[in-house]
């Protein structure tokens, strides 16, 4: 059997979901026989490839770059998994939403900055009006809430998907878990 093409991406999240992924420990070795990690912050691929079977997506969609990335991921991926609360419900990144972009940038780059007080206009991608859950931007196939979801939860989701089944995530994890 050919190996499943798996990817992971990291949008507006703290990398905790990726840490939890790594916490699968020795089970990663077992998974390595069944999957090929074709794109991830954990590997070196620079361009998100075509024909990805499953992509685990961490983080909310918070800036223009996140949005571009998730649109590309959706177009090139069969099963898109919202991994963790930021992806599922925009979680901590959404706590800026009630205040508006202008006030948030002012707080971060002017009020709280000691040097070079200015709001960046280049290199750093502009924030979207709200940090949003991924499913508000593109279709999501599997939701895995949790902050972060446990390694056991992620292992369960990945192995179920590899076996061709849709995981029942409510039995393994919840918002805030």
């Amino acid at each position: 059997m050919s190996k499943a093409r798996i990817a992971t991406i990291w949008l507006d999240g703290c990398s905790g979901c990726h840490m939890s992924f790594l916490d699968m420990d020795e089970r990663l070795i077992e998974l390595a026989d069944k999957i090929e990690l074709v794109y991830s912050p954990l590997v070196d691929a620079k361009e998100y490839p075509e024909n990805v079977d499953v992509c685990l997506c961490e983080g909310a969609v918070s800036n223009e770059d996140d949005l571009k990335k998730i649109l590309k991921v959706r177009a090139r991926t069969k099963i898109l998994v919202s991994l963790g609360d930021c992806a599922v419900n925009s979680n901590v990144p959404s706590m800026r939403n009630p205040f508006g972009v202008e006030a948030v940038c002012h707080r971060a780059y002017i009020e709280n900055a000691q040097l070079n007080q200015q709001i960046p206009k280049q290199v750093i991608p502009p924030l979207l009006k709200n940090a949003r859950p991924i499913h508000e931007c593109v279709k999501v196939d599997v939701f895995v809430p949790g902050c972060p979801p446990s390694a056991d939860g992620i292992y369960y989701v990945v192995t179920e998907l590899l076996a061709g089944r849709m995981p029942d995530t409510a039995s393994k994890t919840r918002f805030g878990a």
């Binding site: 599922v88 499913h135 999501v140 939701f143 895995v144 809430p145 918002f175």
Partner: protein, 242 residues
């Protein structure tokens, strides 16, 4: 249940999910369902407080009624045919929960009640793994003016347990609700900072019955706010003295 009901109560017979059950006439559908081990999800309801039907999570279908009825405030009637788990109900319950999440800023991961929250637990129990409605992201305040307690309106589901426990059990009626619909807010006294309330006895009952992390003890970090169940004991003691 109701201590004043010393007069003889007649017995009603009805069906829940096709099974014959009997009930006292003063019981609600929820009471009878629970007595018979039938699960109906609830949030605003709390044993020992007058039911108000605020959350609508306990909706059931009753044959012959075109509306869905809240089980916690609907009294039993002879020959009622109640269904508690139809496709429609499962669908509406999820919708109700999702709307509660969409209405305020519920961030479970950083909430004092993470792991001890009835809203969070109910979402998991009913299989709500994401919210299909657009979030409102209202800008809401946190009032930390009280010496020992704080209220974070971002997490309130307007169940009114705090209002009822303060009025019915403590007898202070510090809490109330102002506004309409999604703009409603729980308030203390005449909508003034909690710390300046003259009626508040600082008993903390409201904090203990709040199903979410809205009302909490100061000094609790994320996940540290656990609640004590004291109402069954208080109501029992009071009934015995009647």
């Amino acid at each position: 249940m109701n201590p004043s009901a010393q007069k003889t109560l007649s017995v009603k017979t009805l069906q829940i999910n096709g099974k014959d059950v009997s009930a006292r006439e003063d019981q609600t559908i929820l009471d009878v369902a629970r007595e018979n081990g039938v699960f109906i999800p609830t949030l605003c309801n709390l044993d020992g407080l007058t039911p108000v039907g605020a959350c609508r999570l306990c909706l059931v279908e009753v044959k012959g009624s075109r509306r869905l009825l809240p089980a916690c405030i609907t009294q039993v009637q002879d020959n009622m045919e109640v269904s508690t788990n139809t496709e429609t109900l499962v669908k509406y319950r999820k919708m109700i929960l999702e709307l509660l999440f969409a209405e305020r800023n519920h961030v479970c991961s950083v909430c004092v009640s993470n792991g001890h929250c009835e809203l969070q637990a109910m979402a998991q129990k009913l299989g709500v793994d994401h919210i299909r409605y657009p979030y409102l992201y209202p800008k809401l305040a946190v009032d930390a003016s009280h010496d020992r307690f704080a209220v974070d309106h971002n997490r309130c589901i307007l169940c009114q347990r705090c209002v009822r426990v303060c009025d019915e059990i403590e007898g202070a009626h510090t809490w109330d609700v102002q506004g309409r619909g999604t703009a409603s807010l729980v308030i203390t006294d005449l909508n003034q900072p909690w710390g300046t309330s003259e009626s508040c006895t600082s008993c903390g009952k409201c904090v203990q019955v709040c199903p979410t992390g809205t009302l909490f003890e100061k000094g609790r970090a994320s996940g540290e706010m656990t609640k004590r169940e004291f109402l069954p004991y208080l109501t029992l003691m009071r009934e015995e003295r009647v």
